[in-house]
């Protein structure tokens, strides 16, 4: 049975710097989390949505609508975009946070971040080049039709090389790869961790106006609507199998 006071699951402290397979985690019991895994199976941040102010509620709830068709990326680019977003956020099954749609909407609306590296193209062109480069590497290195068609392990290897700026040839020659990784990840992380499903996964209390938070610690940090990290094992089974804390 997992003990969240322990730190054995943290990648930096493991020999391969890889986390355990998500199967060690409980299934989400209330609400939705990405891939239905999480640490707070009986916490649904949306249970407090009626306490949010109207402006915040409309912004957050809009993320739960069915995703609209892509506007910025072309049908040719779409499979690569989706495979890239799935790989970097480890979203291998439904339900998925619609990260590709978030990125597409940001770029289509021109909501850029307010700076552009002198040795880099516009962020929109950076995205196009990265997708092109991922296809290029998948083709030349693995003989796949494109990045989306490559095996999941090969896709992860390519992304790892992107994260370490170990790619070259083709479109990569036009990019400072470390900066391109940063441009892409800024948008992807903002898309994933702005979604209430991700807040369920991590146990984040979410918006708190006008209600506010009253339990700051040190004795308790949990509001009435929040839940502690927990597992979904049947406690009876856990005791029978000798997995409990006694």
């Amino acid at each position: 049975m997992p003990d969240f006071r322990d730190h054995a699951h943290l990648p930096n402290l493991r020999p391969d710097r890889e986390p355990p397979h998500p199967s060690w985690l409980p299934r989400q019991e209330v609400g939705i989390s990405p891939q239905m895994v999480g640490r707070y199976p009986d916490f649904d941040v949306l249970s407090a949505a009626d306490t949010w102010d109207e402006a915040t509620k409309s912004v957050v709830m809009a993320r739960l609508k069915d995703p609209a068709p892509l506007r910025f990326f072309t049908p040719d680019q779409e499979p690569t975009l989706r495979a890239f977003c799935d790989t970097v956020m480890a979203q291998d099954v439904e339900p998925r946070v619609p990260v590709a749609e978030f990125v597409d909407d940001k770029l289509a609306a021109g909501r850029l971040d307010g700076y552009q590296y002198a040795d880099m193209p516009d962020d929109r062109d950076t995205w196009r080049l990265v997708l092109h480069g991922l296809d290029h590497t998948a083709r030349t290195r693995y003989g796949a039709a494109g990045f989306a068609e490559a095996d999941p392990e090969n896709r992860e290897t390519i992304v790892d090389d992107l994260a370490h700026a170990h790619l070259d040839g083709g479109p990569w020659e036009e990019l400072n790869i470390a900066r391109a990784w940063s441009v892409c990840m800024r948008a992807i992380l903002a898309g994933f961790y702005s979604h209430p499903w991700a807040w369920n996964e991590i146990g984040f209390g979410g918006p708190a106006y006008p209600r506010g938070f009253m339990r700051l610690g040190p004795l308790s940090t949990t509001e009435p609507f929040e839940r502690h990290g927990s597992t979904s094992e049947d406690p009876v089974d856990a005791v029978h199998q000798g997995l409990g804390h006694g």
């Binding site: 969240f4 006071r5 730190h7 699951h9 943290l10 990648p11 930096n12 402290l13 890889e18 986390p19 998500p22 985690l25 640490r39 949010w52 102010d53 402006a55 915040t56 912004v59 957050v60 790989t87 970097v88 956020m89 480890a90 909501r111 850029l112 971040d113 307010g114 700076y115 552009q116 590296y117 002198a118 040795d119 994260a163 990840m185 992380l189 903002a190 898309g191 961790y193 702005s194 991700a198 807040w199 996964e201 991590i202 146990g203 984040f204 209390g205 918006p207 708190a208 106006y209 006008p210 209600r211 506010g212 938070f213 700051l216 610690g217 040190p218 940090t221 949990t222 929040e226 990290g229």
Partner: protein, 579 residues
């Protein structure tokens, strides 16, 4: 007895000559006066036109309006309606930031946008965390005392009364402050979160002194401004009106005293009479594709912050100033500074939920001044912070994690507490704003910012990051993640004692144009390791007092050169340099 009396009165005494706290509405976050503010007729010459409604411009306007000046503020961004415009959400707060394009270069390019650049009425303080420390007396003479940086043409005592006044206006809450020039705060310290307590414990074990605050966040009530509700979204704009920004601390009073704010108005250039060399006003656009409009004024003050102020000057080209306004000596845009802002985050067995309470909680200025045993000049401060999920995901990414490892760390979010530093990075001439080729939607060329660290900067960053990592280990953190980053902006149009080495004089009046002032953080010759908001406001407060009295127009060369350098050269300071 005096201490007991001060304790009783803590939080009870408000500032005079600023009614902003009473003008605010208890039930609405609108800036009162938007609909009823005075509107000056087009073509009417006002006393003062200010570019930028942020920390500097707003304080200057409020003060001089109280002296009867007719003032127009041009603000590039919108007039906020916080009830509708601001949200308790990271990604939904994009519009608070200056996201118009800028080019970043140099060996260590600085990320801008949400990191350090605001846009809209209230400026960057709308989304600053809330830390409001003073500069130390040592900040004003680092060249004389430490052999690095620059000397200011003024000294701490010139700013001290304005620090005290602005602290009463924000109002600042914090413990009695032992560092720099020791002082008290008008409001009691806030309660701290479990996450901050864990960090403080680690620092305590290492013998590092920390104190609660100082933050510009109401603890109690302040006029019609309520107590903080500890929801944690300080960086997304305070929907409570508890956190100080000019939007609630100075602009209500300014609008009640005949100041007009023209929002969504982008300044294009300062107009100069080619015969007299005096500024006649500011040319601006009130919409994309709109015609140029000239707001005439007796005085012009630029308060667009360290990137937009130099950009406006450099784009103000005329036959008299072919290289940009005030730039005959090639000083405009130089010596821009950011602070190193590495953060480390530590893992603890208990759920700490760092998203609760304001991100700024506890800080230390124990390492602020030069200690040559550390191997570099000047120092750093330590401050607890508490990133929300997207911010913390960037932190995890910076430690080298993505995919399943990213998800694993993020699921652990509630167990982590984060602490950061602010390094005093040194002013360097090649760290500068220039004009880039691309144009913005108004047709105005955009800014380019180049930044490169010097060896002293790198040593400072490396050492300070070790110190906060040690704090986490002393607190028994189970795992530690580190991100190297930067924060804040100052410099770019610095004040100094000669036109060859600065843009403005000791009164923040430009050397080249007699009725042109710079009223923002770009005038700072050094930055200490204090967050700049309070100092920017105090400088504007001092500038206003001197403009109102006429002292700022003093043409005496000694008055323009200021007193700071002369006082810094006393034997006492000379001794400390050799020690």
């Amino acid at each position: 007895m005096a201490d007991r009396l001060r304790g009783l009165l803590k939080g009870a005494i408000g500032p005079s000559d600023n009614d902003s706290r009473y003008l605010l509405d208890v039930h609405s976050r609108e800036l009162p006066g938007e609909d009823t503010m005075r509107q000056y007729a087009p073509g009417e010459e006002v006393d003062l036109v200010i570019v930028g409604a942020g920390a500097g411009g707003s304080v200057l306007a409020q003060r001089l309006a109280r002296h009867g000046w007719n003032i127009v503020i041009l603000e590039a961004g919108p007039f906020w309606h916080p009830d509708e415009d601001w949200v308790s959400d990271e990604a939904g707060s994009h519009e608070l930031y200056w996201t118009q394009n800028r080019i970043i270069g140099g060996a260590d390019p600085i990320e801008l946008g949400k990191n350090n650049s605001g846009r809209g009425v209230g400026g960057s303080m709308v989304h600053y965390a809330g830390y409001t420390p003073r500069f130390h007396p040592s900040d004003f003479s680092t060249l004389t005392d430490d052999g690095v940086g620059a000397d200011w043409p003024i000294n701490y005592e010139d700013l001290r009364p304005h620090y005290e006044q602005v602290e009463a206006e924000l109002p600042v809450a914090g413990q009695n402050w032992p560092w720099g020039h020791p002082h008290r705060y008008p409001f009691s310290p806030h309660p701290i979160s479990g996450a901050a307590a864990r960090l403080w414990e680690g620092a305590h074990k290492l013998g590092i002194e920390m104190r609660v605050g100082p933050v510009g966040i109401v603890n109690g009530t302040f006029g019609n401004r309520p107590h903080c509700i500890y929801r944690g979204y300080c960086l997304q704009g305070c929907k409570v009106n508890a956190k100080a920004s000019p939007y609630v601390t100075h602009l209500p009073d300014a609008l009640a005293h005949a100041v007009e704010i023209r929002a969504n108005c982008m300044a294009a250039r300062v107009e100069v009479d080619q015969a007299t060399g005096r500024a006649t006003g500011v040319v601006y656009h009130d919409e994309v594709g709109g015609a140029e409009i000239l707001q005439r004024a007796r005085f012009v003050a630029i308060a667009g912050y360290s990137i937009e102020t130099p950009r406006l000057l450099l784009n103000s080209i005329s036959s008299r100033f072919p290289h940009g306004l005030c730039n005959d000596e090639d000083q405009v845009g130089r010596y821009i500074m950011v602070q190193g802002a590495s953060q480390t985050t530590g893992r603890f067995p208990d759920e700490l939920r760092m998203y609760k309470a304001p991100p700024p909680e506890v800080s230390s200025e124990q390492f602020y001044e030069t200690d040559l045993s550390r191997g570099f000049a000047r120092g750093f401060s330590i401050q607890t912070v508490s990133p929300l999920p997207i911010g913390w995901a960037e932190h995890v990414l910076a430690d080298g994690h993505w995919g399943r490892a990213m998800r694993e760390y993020m699921r652990d979010y509630n167990h982590w507490a984060t602490i950061g530093v602010l390094n005093e990075l040194l002013p360097q001439p090649e760290n500068r704003i220039t004009i880039a080729e691309p144009i913005d939607p108004y047709g105005i060329p955009i800014a380019r910012m180049d930044y490169s660290l010097c060896e002293n900067d790198k040593s400072n960053i490396a050492h300070s990051t070790e110190v906060i990592t040690d704090i986490l280990h002393a607190a028994d953190a189970q795992d530690v993640l580190t991100i190297y980053r930067y924060a804040h902006l100052v410099g770019g149009a610095r004040m100094g004692s000669s036109p060859q080495a600065s843009v403005v004089d000791a009164n923040q009046r430009s050397w080249a144009v007699p009725n042109l002032f710079v009223a923002d953080g770009s005038v700072c010759p050094t930055q200490g390791s204090a967050n700049p908001a309070l100092t920017i406001m105090a400088l504007a407060s001092r500038l206003a007092a001197r403009m109102a009295s006429g002292a700022a127009m003093d043409d005496d060369p000694l008055a323009r050169a200021g007193t700071g350098t002369r006082q810094a050269a006393t034997p006492q300071h000379a001794r400390s340099r050799s020690s």
